[in-house]
Each structure stands twice: as structure tokens, then as C-alpha cells.
Amino acid sequence: MMNGIFEQLYALCNRDGVTNFEDDVREYILSKAHSCTDTVFCDSVGNVFVCKKGACEPKRPILVLTNMDEPGFMVKEITSDGYLHVVAIDDYIDVRTVLGKKLWIGRNRVPGVVALKAIHLTPKSARGSIPDIDSLNVDIGAANREDAEKRVKCGDTAVPAYALTEMGDCLRGKGLTGRTGAAIALRLMQDELPYDTWFAFIKKSVLTPHFGGVLAARRIDPGFSILLNCHEANDMPNIPEEKRMVTLRGGAALALKGTSVCYNRQINRGLVAWAAEQGIPTQYIQADRIRDAGQDLTAGASGGEAIALSVPVRYVNSMSPVACKRDIEAVYLLAQQALRKAGEILG
């Protein structure tokens, strides 16, 4: 049963879809959605909406909201000697993790290396500083601008060239931060659902986290929403325990509050109690400020209840985030249970 999630996750992460350029990912989601329901459409800006029929019609709409984009870069200049200069979209990725790493540029995945002057040639006084991303040269092996332009154009997007792969009992690779929720949503869509359920796959979450939630809430006016997300796991040795927000292997992470919203306490408590009975690990996110689309989900015309279920992900701002497979499964199981309980929640 669980394998379905990881198949979806591999398929989603190994497609490139930098924020606002999610076409390949959207195409995959549409193909999967069409295979299990007829009500599938894109809105005018490119978000995907799917309604899967369940055993009953709920009193008010139920919405599962997640993302489909990923952080990345865009080529802004090709130099006369054939190197690329790139900009980071929303500066989401920590430039320290970009130096010396490989990118895939454009639809043909032209490989490029983010070059830094060799350490031997760098004065000691300069070795402690990290340059801005847009001052770095990306080396695609071109002899000059004309040669480079045969392979790459200004405006091409670029993603970390780190495909999803196994690492211990975890997964490591690009796209995890944005697409783990989408993989869980696609898996839920394959279930026999207790109620008719809407799924929204939102673009541009990296750039504008409120963009999709607002549009989805206005369109669906959900009475109950589940936000499927990722949350930074900062369980590093250099972070004191009291400052750790969530931990890898800590299970599904439930948010108490998001941006200008408190998530439904009763639903959270019910899910945590159920999970404990089932032996499914859960944790509450220990963070004061969570940047998510939560407030938007409760802002439909008639208002509504919402919860946010997150997969703990290490290194969310890096080229190669890491998530534990058991945590992903835990989020799926909790989302499944929340959908079973949706009738009670809606009264």
C-alpha cells in the first residue's frame, strides 16, 4: 500500500518544475488524476483542481491542499566566454549549499557546475565569505557565448541536479520540500474515500505561499481543509533540543498554528490520540511562526476548519533535502484518518 506514495514521489521529484514553471509536474498530476476521476481541471493561472467522488456527499466541501513547485534558479546572463549567471528564485536555497554543486538547466537538463575560484587562488581573507549567487559562474563547458546559446537561453530555469535517491531509511533529493505533499495527495486520491473530496495542487508556493490557498478557498469554499506540507526538521547537533521545531523520524508533524491561523485543536488532538493507538508517531511543530497557506484555507466565503500535516524535512533550504520514509507514511495515514473523520468534523 505504502509503495504507492513513493512511486508518486519519485515520479514527481524527478520532474523539473521551478516555481511558476511547473508544466511537467502539472502534466503528471493531471494524468494521474484523470485515471481515477472525471472532475479534473486547471484554473486560469495553472493550479490543478480534482474532485474525487467518495461514498457520501459531505455537508460542505472537503479540500486537500498541497504544492507542486520546487525552488530553483533562472539564467539571467550568458557571458562572452560561455558561462552562465543565474538568479535564485526567491533566494529560497541557501547559497552555501549551491557552491560547487551541479545544476540541470532548461528542459534538456544541460548539466552545469556552480563554480567557485579554487581555494589555492583565494586569499585567506576571502575564504570566510560566501559570494552572492548571481555573481557566480555556472560552467556548462561552452567555449563562448555562441556555443552556450546552442544549449541554453536566458530565462531557462535550473534545478539542483540531485535526483531523488535512498539514503539510509530516508530519501534525499531535489523536489522533496515541495512535492512530498503532492505525492501523499495523489496516493489519497487512489483510495476509496468516505466523502467527495477536492484536491488542489498549487503552483508558486515557494514564491508566494498564499497564492494558491486563497484561490482554492474562494473556489471550493471548504468546510474542512487539510494542508499537506513539509516542515523544516532542525534536529542538528548544533541546535539545542529546546530550539528544535520538528525532528526526523518524529512522525507526522501537526501544526498548532500557521500564518494568522490557529488550526483546529479538537481535530489535532483526535488525530494524535488515534495515531498513538495505532502506533503511528506524531509530533507538534514547536515553532511560533509557520509560513504556510493556513489562513487562506479558513478564509472561504463561509469559513471552515483546517489542519496542517507536515512531513519533517531536513535541509529544506538546500539543494538536496532529506525526509524519512516512515514520516511520510505517517502523514499519509493521518490524512487518511482525517478524511474518514471529516463527516464528524463538518457536523
Binding site: 560547487g100 554543486k101 579554487a118 535512498e166 539510509g168 531509511d169 535541509y315
Partner: protein
């Protein structure tokens, strides 16, 4: 000989400085068919000899080091993480780097180097804030991973149009590949000197391995074949790709060797460029020249980009030119001592 495939194999083989055994075995297997005898010596160097059949013939010893920069485990840091040390790696490039961890019981585990979390910063991460994460639970990680386990970049080499190869350990296995190609060309060639090929270990940590083996072999000429910094936008004075090996004019290289290399390159129309540095070579020649009673040394360099980075870049056309130049030199060598003393 498919030199590109051989170089990629060498780039991927595992040979962190002081822990080169696996790479040494790969190098030995590639060298053995090209020489009369080959071994891994007591210091860990790969040594092969091709005899010319003349008694008391001069000995020409070529050296390319086979160790590489990387990391090693220095101890557990809790929660499944490990502290790390480095052997010449540019640590600014370490955060977020996918790596391979080679455990004591022979497993190769995937991992990554991490600088933890927090707000992005414009300051480089100090070494004591870098950790190894293998995605294993604390108990499993500490069962499998121990102090001193080598950690290498997980950057499979790839080729781009123009014959540029991007991958780890161009410094200096690209030069070892050039020596293999030279030996292939020397098959059946009548020579006036015994040719020794050394794949030296521990160069990146300044170890004495190359010097010790030179002391044992006592060559008439020790020839360090190593890399130099290629031209890039931030190193405009570097040596250029597609212009051949860089013949060094500097304090370590014997002027007779330098002169002969230029003459041979001109005579046989081999691409080459001049490489002038004012300081003592950072290659094994710097150490060997003052070993014992002193050995004449030659230095010739292959330009690479991004030395000591996860992806170093070498130009296969230059590698082939390097092998051709060394081949001509080996064919021509009769020993300096007898001719020029």
C-alpha cells in the same frame, strides 16, 4: 585503449589521502598489462616498471598521485550525525554535498555533508559546524560508521561536448590516465631507459610516500606529472584548455628537462603551453629533489578547473597531448647523468 572510459573509472574509484587502497588496486589492474612488473609497495604507492633490456640502463620515473581530497569521520555528534575532518577539500563547497561513506566492514553508504539549519548566511560554515548525515538512526549509524571512515564526494563523472570531463579526482588521476596512455604507446617501443610509473599516495597531505619510493628506486630523472589551474573567469591568468600540457618553467624543474620538452613538442607538433611559476613546485617533485643525494626532476602539468572541488574539470584533448609529449620524452631519454654530467 578507451582513455575516456579509463579516466572515468579512475575518477570514480575511491582513494582518499592515506586511505588509497581501493583506488590503488584499480590503478594497479590498469597498469599491470602495460609493464613488465607491477606492485603496490609498502607505502601504498602503485609501482610498475617497463625494462628496456639494457643492463644498468638509466631509470626514468614518472609520478602521478592517485590520492584525492575528501573527508573522514572524526566521531559521533549525536542523533545519527558525525563530525568530519578533511584532507585538502575546499570546505566552502562542503555544505549540502552528497557523499559516499566507506565503512570498516566494506559497505558504501550514501550520505551528505550538512551545515545544519538556520537562516542562509554569507559566511562560510566553519569546519566544526559541518556534519555527516547518512539518514540512519543514531543506533544504526553508530553501529556502521566509525572514526576514520573515508568520505568522498558522490559526483559521478560526466562528459560534455568538446571532451571535457567533470568529476572528482582529476587532481591527479587524469595525469595517471595520461601515463597509462603513454605506456600503451610505448608497447613494443625500443627504449634506452627503464621506465617506472608511480601512482603515488598521500600527496594531498604532504606525505612522504613519493619521496620514500624514489629513494628506493633511485631514478636518473623523477618526473612529476600533476595538475595546474586552468583559465576561468576568476582566474584569467590560468592555463588554457585545448592548448595542451603546461610545461613548467619554475624552481623545481630541471632546465634540461624543460628545454627538451619544448624541443620535442615543437618537433612533433604537440600542443603545449608554457607555465611559469616563481615558487617551488607543490608537486611530489618538490619533495623528491632533495631526497638522498638529490634527484633531477621534471614537472609537466595538465590544466584543470576548480582544483579540490567536488567537480574538477579536465580536457581529454589536453590529456592525450600530455601523454604524447611524455611518450616522446620517454623514447628520447638516454639519461642525463651520462650525457650531461
Amino acid at each position: 585503449m578507451d582513455i575516456t572510459a579509463i579516466y572515468k573509472e579512475l575518477s570514480r574509484s575511491a582513494g582518499l589521502s592515506c586511505r588509497e587502497r581501493s583506488a590503488a588496486e584499480t590503478c594497479l589492474a590498469l597498469l599491470r598489462p602495460l609493464v613488465d612488473a607491477a606492485e603496490i609497495d609498502a607505502w601504498g604507492n602503485v609501482i610498475g616498471i617497463k625494462r628496456c633490456g639494457i643492463s644498468n640502463a638509466p631509470v626514468l620515473m614518472f609520478d602521478a598521485h592517485i590520492d584525492q581530497v575528501g573527508f573522514y569521520v572524526t566521531g559521533p555528534a549525536g542523533n545519527g550525525f558525525f563530525h568530519i575532518g578533511e584532507t585538502g577539500m575546499d570546505m566552502r563547497l562542503a555544505p549540502g554535498l552528497p557523499v559516499r561513506v566507506f565503512t570498516r566492514d566494506g559497505q558504501e553508504l550514501p550520505g551528505m555533508i550538512t551545515c545544519g539549519t538556520g537562516e542562509p548566511s554569507d559566511k562560510a560554515v566553519p569546519g566544526d559546524k559541518l556534519y555527516l548525515d547518512t539518514g540512519l538512526s543514531e543506533a544504526e549509524a553508530e553501529r556502521l560508521i566509525h572514526k576514520d571512515d573515508p568520505i568522498l564526494c558522490d559526483c559521478p563523472p560526466y562528459e560534455l561536448p568538446g571532451g571535457l570531463i567533470y568529476g572528482p579526482a582529476a587532481d591527479d588521476r587524469a595525469c595517471f590516465a595520461a601515463l597509462l596512455l603513454m605506456m600503451e604507446k610505448l608497447k613494443g617501443q625500443k627504449l634506452a631507459a627503464d621506465i617506472v610509473i608511480q601512482g603515488a599516495c598521500r600527496e594531498e597531505v604532504g606525505g612522504p610516500s613519493a619521496g620514500n619510493s624514489a629513494e628506493r628506486i633511485k631514478p636518473d630523472l623523477f618526473f612529476a606529472v600533476d595538475v595546474c589551474h586552468a583559465k576561468t573567469p576568476d582566474n584569467p591568468g590560468g592555463e588554457e584548455f585545448y592548448k595542451g600540457p603546461a610545461i613548467a618553467r619554475q624552481g623545481t624543474s630541471d632546465p634540461r628537462v624543460t628545454k627538451r620538452l619544448f624541443e620535442l613538442a615543437e618537433k612533433y607538433e604537440i600542443s603545449h603551453q608554457e607555465y611559469v611559476i616563481s615558487y617551488i613546485s607543490g608537486t611530489n617533485a618538490g619533495e623528491v629533489q632533495i631526497k638522498g643525494k638529490g634527484y633531477p626532476c621534471g614537472v609537466v602539468s595538465l590544466p584543470i578547473r576548480y582544483m579540490h572541488a567536488p567537480y574538477e574539470v579536465c580536457c581529454m584533448e589536453d590529456l592525450v597531448s600530455l601523454s604524447e609529449l611524455l611518450y616522446r620524452f620517454a623514447c628520447d631519454f638516454h639519461g642525463f647523468g651520462k650525457e650531461n654530467a
